[in-house]
Structure formats: C-alpha cells, structure tokens
Amino acid sequence: MAIFVDKDTRVVVQGITGRDGGFHTSEMMAYGTKVVAGCTPGRGGQKFQDKVPVFDTVREAVANEGANTSVIFVPPAGAAGAIMEAADAGCKLVVCITEGVPTVDMVRVMPYLKERGVRLVGPNCPGLLAPGIAKLGILPASIVKEGPVGLVSRSGTLTYEVVYQLTAAGLGQTTCLGIGGDPIIGTNFLDAIEAFNADPATEAFVMIGEIGGDAEEKAAAYIKAHVKKPVVSFIAGQTAPPGKRMGHAGAIVSGGTGTAAEKKRALNDAGIPVAERPMDIVPQLKSIWKR
C-alpha cells in the first residue's frame, strides 16, 4: 500500500510533448505507471511514443481514457492554469513538478482546488513514488525499494540522498513524497503525516524539513498528539543567513522566524529525533524502531 496513489491511478501528463515532460513520461511508463493520456493544446490526435494518446484538453483525456490523476510539466506561466484545468476536468490528484510558479497564482488556485476536493502535490516538487505501485513525477526509480518506511520532504535531491541510504540499509519505502519548496503548496507535511499515520503499510517514517515557514512545527505538534509510529526528522539550512532565499522560494528565514533552530526545538519538544547529519537518519530510525 501507499499514500495518495494505488493501482487504479490513471495518469494524464500535461506538457507530455515538452522535453522534460516527454523524458519523465517515459521514465514513469518504464516504472509501470499507468500513463493513459497526454495533454498539449494543438497536439490532440497525436500519440506519444506511438502508444499514449495526446489530447488538446484534460477534459478529453478524462472522458476518453479515464484519467484521474495529472502530472504537470508545463512552464511556469501556464502551470496554475494547468492545475485548474486538471481539477476542473475531474482529476482528484494533481502533481505539479513545475518550478517558478508565481505565488499569487497559487493563492488563486488553492480555493479552486478546495471547492473541487482535489489534492495537489507541489508545485516545485519532485512528485511522489510509491515503490511497486506508481511513479508520479521525477523521483529516480533506481534508488527506491518496496518496504515499510514513509518519507516526506520539501526537497528534491536531499530526498534522493535519504531514500538512497534507506534502500542501502535494506529499508524499503511505502511512498517517497516530495511536497515542494514553495511557500504555497497543495500538500503539506501535516497532510502527508496524517496519510502515513493512517496507512497500515507504513510502519515508520522520515520527515525532511528545511528553513522557512512553520510547517515542521505544526507537523511536530500533530505527531506528538496523534502518531505512535516511529518518526525521525532532519532540517536543512542551519547555516543559512537570514533574509536570503536559499534556492527554494519557501526557504527563507524572515523576521527571525522559520529558523532551523526553532524547528529542531519544536521537533525535539515533540519527542521526535532530529538527525544532525543526513547519514544519521537511518541509524536513528533503526534505533527507535522496535520491529
């Protein structure tokens, strides 16, 4: 089992005819993900790799191929519109990989999704990979393995680093989820943790946070109150200077809040071990996890 996806996940890729969209669609298909359609306005009627029908609109992809999930690779100027299109067409899960979406666009998108009961992952995220089930996004399939650990992270390659170490240590994953580095994202730590907590296949999980905002603090409070499963955490950006955006639009310490120190304190107060180094995550998880 996994969170957010299952064997009935039928994917339409928005921006399938683009360079990145095409490459990652191939990767998703190679992993066995049911990519049933693509969408690029003006390319309706074509086929991607002679297999996957391309439509002008997501509505057609849903109507003709039963797509229920969208993965978005369109450029930033069209990303918010693409998310709304997918939601309006009836997709219940939308994964937006696109980096650089204007924040005000996301402010407008969020209530639109809420009214339609749509889950968004991202934007500016690697997506999710449920080993053995489906890969939605760009997480490298080569490093994952089926198993009992859940992983949620605001980062991309740092996530891969940790997944790599988990897999190397023999700890497979139920779902690896990158929620994205922007200030406004569809699925936050809390959503992911609630889902991991409810998922019977997930026995333990790892949360990889970073500076900016207070999503880690909120997650800590939730875990303290509701979660019995073992959790280990890591926070990136202890050495980041205040007021500077560290790559991710959301990774910024402003007005003295959102610091790594605050987050670590909140996590420790909630009884959640915070690894000092990425390499400590797996040993710490093993040490608190009575299998």
Binding site: H24, P111, S142, P183, I184, T239, K244, M246, A249, G255
Partner: protein, 377 residues
C-alpha cells in the same frame, strides 16, 4: 527582489495611494535644489535596501537649507548595516498627528495574502509582533472576493475608533494596497507609517515593496528598478547566469545539485568545523557551461581555498555529470583543489571517469566534506 522606498512609493502612487511628492538626489547640490522645489521643511531619507535607517541616522528632518546641506552630506556615503547610501529621497516634511502600519504579505498558513495593520505605526512590525502582538490586526484576504469594503472599514474603525473619516481613509488605503500588491506580484508591501496630518488627511509617507522572484517574467519593467550597485557583484553575476547563489563568508566553495542538498551540504561543512563560502544550486543539468559559470563566480572570492561538488545523480546519470565536471575544469585554470562526490545512478561509472583526473573523489557526503575541509587547510 527588494526595491527602494522611493520606488515603492511610485508603485503606491500609481494605484492611487496618497503619497507625498518626493524626488531622489545623489549629491548634496541636488538635495538642496529639491528642497527648494518642494519647500522647507523637508525630510532627507537614505535609500538603502535595509531597515533601521532612522536609528542609524539615515533619515533627517531639515528645517533650513543648511540642515539639508549638512544632513545630505552626512547621509550620502554613510554605511547602514553594510549598505552604502548612494541616494537620498527629498520629500516635504509633514506634521504627524498619528501614525499607523498597513502591510501585506503572503501567508503560508492561510495560503492567502495576509493583511496586517496596527495603530503602532512607524515601528518595525517584527518588533511590534514581539513586544505587543495584540496590537497587530490580521486578516487573510479571500482571493475570490478581494478585500471587501466592510472588512477594510472594520479594521479602519478598530485602528481609529470613533473617527469614521480616518477609518475610511485607512480602509481605502488597504484596498488600494491590495490592488497594488496583486498587480505588482509582490511578496511584501508595507505602508509604514500611514500618517494623518492635523487636518485629518492621510498620507503614505514611507513604504516597502518586495517582488515575487517567480513572477519577474511578467514584469519586464522590474529589471530597471533593480539597484545593481546595492547588489553583491557575485550574486548579480549568478543571477545573470541563472544560478541560485548566495554569498557567504567561508572558504569552502560549494556546488550542489538541488537546494535542499545544497543547504544540507553547507550545514555539514559547518558540522565538521569548516565554513561554506556560498550556497549554490547548479540544478539537474550536466551542462559544462553552467558548471564553468558557477566556478568562475565562486573563484572570484579569493577566500575560497577548495571546491566541493556534491552531486546526487537521480535522473541525470553520474557518468554524464562527471563528464560535465571534467570538461568544465579543463576549460579553465583552477588553482584550488576540487573534491567531487557523486552518488546515485551510474555512480561507479562516474567515479571511474574521475579517477583519471586530478580531482579528489569521495563516496559519501561526509567523506567529501571532511576531505574538502582538510584541503582548505
């Protein structure tokens, strides 16, 4: 991207906010001429991209032309928190009967534009938030309906109880600021303070605007607002080369793919007793040119004693990345040691390629960081 007070006020004025006249001077003579134009008394205000200008002596009331001369010459060239003052704003000094704070920012929790206002105007809002949080009124604005008349007026009346004319002016200012915020794709917009003169008329006498970097593509005019002199030269080059870069004070130059991994790498340098020279995310590409640009920027900093690559090959294969790094290092002369850590897809092939070079390979982040610190000496 941050802009100066005078630029923020130009945006305010375009959206109908009551901004007093004002112009920028770069010399004492210009400042004197402007004081003549607007009429005494005037304020001479340093234009630097940092807060606390007043405390630092960078904002002065001038009753006479001699005051203008004296203050302008003091302020121009002054250093405020590491920022050199190159421009002053000259603007009529108004008689302040009361002052207020009105600001907006992107709120992650409500996922909306958050309106904040306070009768404690003129102070830094972070300070008010710390000392007297109950003095700040907050309203997350529903993007579907905008800032409604009654919402703005309710806040105005809380700030000016019993003074409906002032409350209405504050409410209108909030609505115009919201329009400006959206039109400008701001990430922050503040009027601080919004004052009333003794005649009961409101004025936005100081302000701050930051733009959302993600939205720059739809505001071609913003590049002209950028104060290139105020920017660190290496950060400017990085921006022009489309690299996500932040200059730091250490000696370990870092090139990492991915922002989270880049932060974690900096943290690890510190953990092992070293000092990172920068944050740099080179992204997922194996393009040698990008690596060259990044190296050039980092190596301008003579403090840098070692280069540390930390690359996780995910979709990009490690052998491709290794080839990119090798090509890049061949395209320029680099006289500091280079440590390269490559992990992930095709890592063995990647490391085999590096073995033929004088680059220092490492298997893990920890090993790479420790090696780099040792080489930095």
């Amino acid at each position: 991207m941050n802009i100066h007070e005078y630029q923020a006020k130009e945006i305010f004025a375009r959206h109908g906010l009551p901004v007093p006249p004002g112009e920028v001077a770069t010399t004492v003579g210009e400042a004197v001429a402007l004081a003549g134009k607007f009429g005494l008394p005037v304020m001479v205000k340093s234009q630097v991209l940092t807060g606390g200008r007043g405390k630092a002596g960078g904002v002065k009331f001038c009753k006479t032309i001699d005051d203008v001369k004296e203050n302008a010459s003091k302020i121009l060239g002054m250093d405020i928190k590491g920022h050199t003052v190159r421009k002053v704003l000259v603007t009529p000094a108004l008689d302040i009967a009361s002052e207020f704070y009105v600001g907006m920012l992107i709120d992650r929790t409500s996922q909306r534009v958050l309106l904040m206002c306070s009768a404690e105007g003129g102070m830094e809002i972070e300070q008010v938030a710390k000392d007297k949080p109950e003095a700040i009124l907050k309203l997350p604005i529903d993007p579907r309906f905008g800032l409604l008349d009654h919402e703005a007026l309710e806040l105005g009346l809380k700030m000016c109880p019993g003074e409906v004319k002032k409350a209405r002016q504050l409410a209108t200012a909030m609505q115009k600021l919201y329009a400006a915020f959206l039109a400008a794709d701001a990430s922050l917009a503040e009027i601080n303070p919004f004052i009333f003169t003794p005649d009961g008329i409101g004025h936005a006498i100081d302000g701050k605007v930051s733009f959302d970097d993600n939205a720059m593509y739809r505001h071609a005019d913003y590049e002209a607002l950028r104060d290139l002199e105020a920017e660190d030269p290496s950060e400017r080059q990085a921006r022009e080369a489309n690299l996500s870069f932040v200059k730091l004070e250490g000696n370990v130059g870092c090139l990492v793919n991915g922002a989270g991994l880049a932060m974690a790498t900096m943290d690890l340098v510190k953990y092992y007793g070293g000092q990172p020279a920068n944050f740099l995310d080179i992204g997922g590409s194996s393009n040698p040119e990008k690596v060259v640009n990044a190296l050039k920027i980092i190596l301008q900093d003579k403090a840098v004693k070692v280069i540390l690559f930390n690359i996780f090959g995910g979709i990009t294969r490690c052998d491709d990345v290794a080839n990119g790094i090798i090509k890049a290092t061949e395209m320029m002369t680099i006289d500091v040691p280079i440590v390269v850590r490559l992990t992930g897809t095709n890592e063995a092939e990647g490391r085999a390629l590096l073995a033929k070079t004088k680059l220092h390979p490492a298997e893990t982040m920890d090993e790479a960081v420790q090696k780099a610190i040792a080489l930095a000496g």
